[in-house]
Amino acid sequence: MSLIYGLVSGILFGILLQRAEVLRYDRQVGALRLLDMTIFKFMLSAILVASVGIYLLKDMGLAALNIKATGLGAQIVGGTLFGIGWGLLGYCPGTAGGALAEGRLDAFWGLAGMLAGGGIYAALYPTFKATVLSWGNLGKVTLPQAMGVSPWIVIVTMALLFLAMFRLFEKRGL
């Protein structure tokens, strides 16, 4: 059943990504070059809606959070490395398959590179574990926990910040 749920949510997500043109290299790299904010409009809108929904479910006891541990080495070094690869490829792990499916053949080589990267990561894992992954581990923590405030304060603040960004994007025609 879990497999069917995965397939169905993937299909719905894929339709939305394709029709909003989020899968395209020109939109992805356009965002990194600050020329076209389509992918951020999509992503930040999704985050806003989902954060309200998820914390409502959590408050009603209908869902649990499942967050990743914060590691400053992991997310700063790994995040920057991801960004470098993203800037070269112009697709993400979640979108490259969708880009190939709408006819972007270069995405195939990106997917092949990702599989190669997965193998290399596993081979280098002991080294990473002893270095980058051991730096600055803060555990599984949310922003409201770290700040000692209600999550709804963080959600409202985030919403205001995102809306200000959306206004700026529209004003500048990005």
Partner: protein, 176 residues
């Protein structure tokens, strides 16, 4: 149908799909681990003993080939399937060897584009596995849960990407 959907509206709907997935299936979105698992599956198929790698056996084989097929693999396939269906239905399916922006800057020879794409994919998965996620897992799922890890990761995804894209497309000799 050729007209693209409003990105705010499509994004908001994607947020509802994520909430529904959490409520019904208990799964948050993510994608990058599938490529590590896929690498393990390919290695096993060609006869490599993946048990020699600590990463593929850690956490009861969570990152190994034995965990396939699972929710996330089907999610990644689903995105491709949904995209294919939407592209055909809206008549926006288009075979393109080289993206327009790339061709305008570097020419339309697929060789350089494909080599760069391969290198980019390789580097970004190593980065995503180090960071513990990609824009789906850290960005969408992480920020929706207000996880500190998500905010830090997304900021540095953007820093790395912004630097790389601007270096790649920097003006050369007065040409823009």
């Amino acid at each position: 149908m050729r007209q693209r959907w409003n990105p705010y509206l499509a994004g908001g709907l994607a947020g509802i799909v994520l909430v529904a997935s959490v409520a019904v299936a208990g799964h948050y979105f993510g994608a990058s681990t599938t490529f590590a698992r896929g690498a393990a599956a390919i290695e096993q198929t060609v006869g490599v003993d993946t048990a020699q790698y600590e990463y593929f056996t850690a956490k009861n084989g969570k990152y190994g080939a034995g965990s396939l097929p699972n929710w996330q693999l089907l999610f990644v396939f689903g995105v491709a399937l949904g995209s294919l269906g939407a592209a055909l239905a809206s008549r926006t399916f288009e075979i393109k060897k080289v993206p327009d922006m790339w061709a305008a800057r570097f020419g339309d020879r697929p060789l350089w584009r494909n080599l760069t794409a391969f290198a980019g994919g390789l580097v970004l998965i190593i980065g995503a596995r180090l960071a513990g996620g990609c824009p789906s897992g850290h960005g969408l799922s992480g920020l929706s849960q207000l996880a500190v890890s998500g905010f830090v990761a997304l900021a540095f995804f953007f820093v790395g990407g912004w630097l790389t894209a601007n270096l790649l497309y920097a003006k050369r000799g007065g040409r823009s």
